[in-house]
């Protein structure tokens, strides 16, 4: 009796869910992406022999990333609750879900950033140092532009991963497509709702990936 897509009931709910997902994803990418970029650059530039080589700073950052990254997101979501409450005022709801999402994203993206920067020819950095460029200038005018293509692809990868993570945001009342699929689909044994939700997510991911690939190709001039 719960089978099928009830246009009047499910459509507005799905629209709300998609809005919530997009809200969480965009805020997460903004905060987590920015933080991840900074963290990744810091990891790369403080390692031994790099332009801002600093063993203690690198050790701390490296350790922090290694500690946070393996935590399963569903546990991080709950474990981060006190911090979330401090930042957002509550640990429940769509906005609150962004905090753990952004943390997971920042730490995950930092490694991707670091890995992409490592592929930059060291000679290029040396050439910039040889003309008297400061480390900060090298970071912003060379490192980021030189690795832009792979960085965009990495960011796209993270985008998709964030959509994936938002599916469990329902645990803290975050809502979103994943939550909609679980509560209106799976829990009420309504497979149409589940499959339509899956379809929406697939479309979302496809659009993002297509867009990311285009941008990256443009950055790589290929």
């Amino acid at each position: 009796m719960n089978e099928g897509w009830d246009w009047d009931l499910h459509t507005p709910l799905a629209v709300t869910a998609v809005t919530e997902t997009l809200y969480m994803v965009s805020l997460t990418l903004l905060a987590g992406g920015g933080l991840g970029l900074v963290l990744g650059i810091a990891l790369y530039t403080t390692r031994a022999g790099a332009i801002l080589a600093n063993r203690p700073v690198f050790a701390v950052l490296n350790f922090a990333v290694n500690i946070v990254r393996p935590i399963p997101f569903i546990i991080l979501l709950v474990a981060a609750a006190p911090l979330t409450k401090l930042i957002v005022g509550t640990w429940l709801g769509t906005s609150a879900a962004v905090v753990p999402l952004a943390i997971a994203t920042a730490f995950g993206f930092s490694r991707i950033v670091e890995q992409n920067l490592v592929t930059i020819e060291p000679g290029i950095i040396e050439a910039a140092r040889a003309v008297g460029a400061s480390p900060l200038r090298i970071i912003f005018t060379l490192l980021v532009p030189e690795a832009l293509g792979p960085l965009i692809l990495g960011f796209t990868f993270v985008f998709v991963a964030v959509i994936d993570m938002t599916a469990v945001a329902g645990i803290v009342g975050g809502g979103g497509i994943g939550d909609f699929a679980l509560s209106y689909g799976h829990q009420r044994w309504n497979h149409s709702v589940v499959w339509i939700s899956v379809g929406i997510i697939i479309v979302l991911v496809q659009v993002v990936q297509l867009f990311g690939n285009r941008l990256a190709r443009k950055a790589l001039r290929r």
């Binding site: 290029i124 140092r129 040889a130 003309v131 008297g132 460029a133 400061s134 060379l142």
Partner: protein
């Protein structure tokens, strides 16, 4: 070598002891920590490079050349000693103060090290941006530099669309952007084909003559030194084992390392294998005479007959370098011992003689 000793003794302050020096290294060492302990790349080295010259530094890979050249613009900091560039002691100044000094020292690389995300014009403009040039002046300067290296029409190309020779031209234009007084060329032709190498060397010569830029050429190819350098230092195990004008080092190499480098381009002196063959084929005494503009080897030999001595030229060659003739001839002398001794003594009076002892 005497000149170097003088500077070491005289220099306690930061000003160069020689008025014409643009680069002076005094007792410079550089060590690197490695998992297997300290490695000494540059070992208590003294060097003096004069304003306006093209100075070659040659050595095998691992001799410390690349480290040495990076000590001059402070990309690597020395472990001990003193480096004076353009009157500034760069050994003690902090990294931030080193940057403006570096901006006045151009550098080009074996792998060109162009910025792939920037166009040719963008690459050349980069040092100018770093130096804070305003846009309009920058554009004019970039155009000027690109026409100097003959690449104005490629201004909007990206480095991966250029040939190796073109890339190095862009590298040279970028290195010259801030009108440096010194250009460091680190194996700048080592990844180019012979023809392109000629073009790039010609361009470097032009940079030296027309712009008065002092050029330090790091290479493992003696032919590059022969074609372009005024003076040369031979580097081995982080030390200068021999130095002098290119003519001096080529015509009379003193060390085995220098001799080996010279013999890679000049084949006028018989090697060990050649000598074995010559000895097995010739029964007389075999001597090798150095030949220069005034060595008169021919005149001496023409008188050999009066001592009952016959001669045969069995190896050698004479070429020209820095506008002077030089080379060597290996001669077999046959006849009475006393006569042969007399001829060898006569040759010795005019030039350097090596006798191949059987």
């Amino acid at each position: 070598m005497t000149a170097i000793t003088e500077t070491s003794d005289a220099t306690t302050g930061i000003r160069p002891a020689h008025p014409n020096s643009i680069i002076e290294l005094h007792d410079v060492s550089k060590t690197f920590p490695t998992p297997n302990g300290l490695v000494t790349a540059v070992d208590r080295l003294d060097l003096r490079i004069e304003q306006g010259e093209i100075f070659g530094i040659i050595g095998y890979s691992g001799a410390g050349k690349s480290t040495l050249v990076r000590l001059i613009n402070g990309l690597e900091r020395i472990t001990s000693g003193e480096v004076i560039v353009d009157g500034v002691d760069i050994s003690t100044i902090p990294e931030a103060k080193l940057r403006p000094v570096r901006a006045r020292i151009g550098m080009i690389f074996q792998q060109f090290n162009l910025f792939g995300s920037r166009t040719v014009a963008g690459n050349v403009a980069y040092p100018l941006k770093v130096a804070g040039w305003p846009r309009e002046r920058r554009d004019a300067r970039v155009a000027e530099l690109l026409s100097f290296v003959g690449l104005l029409e490629r201004a909007h190309s990206y480095p991966d669309q250029l040939s190796g020779g073109q890339k190095q031209r862009v590298g040279i234009a970028r290195a010259l952007a801030n009108s440096p007084s010194i250009l460091l060329a680190d194996e700048s032709t080592s990844s180019l084909d012979p023809e392109t190498t000629q073009d790039v060397l010609a361009l470097l010569r032009q940079v030296n003559r027309e712009l008065g830029v002092t050029i330090v050429v790091i290479t493992h190819e003696m032919d590059v030194v022969r074609q372009i350098a005024d003076r040369v230092a031979v580097l081995d195990n982080g030390r200068v084992v021999e130095q002098g004008t290119v003519f001096e080092v080529f015509s009379a190499p003193k060390t085995t390392t220098a001799h080996n480098f010279v013999s890679t381009v000049l084949h006028d002196v018989p090697g060990a294998g050649d000598l074995d063959r010559l000895r097995s084929e010739h029964t007389g005494r075999i001597v090798t005479a150095a030949v220069a503009d005034s060595s008169r080897v021919g005149s001496v030999l023409s008188d050999a007959g009066t001592h009952g001595v016959r001669f045969e030229i069995i190896f050698g060659g004479i070429s020209s370098l820095q506008g002077r003739s030089f080379g060597s001839l290996t001669i077999e002398l046959t006849g009475p011992d006393a006569g042969v001794d007399t001829v060898i003594a006569a040759l010795r009076a005019h030039t350097t003689i090596d006798e191949a002892v059987a």
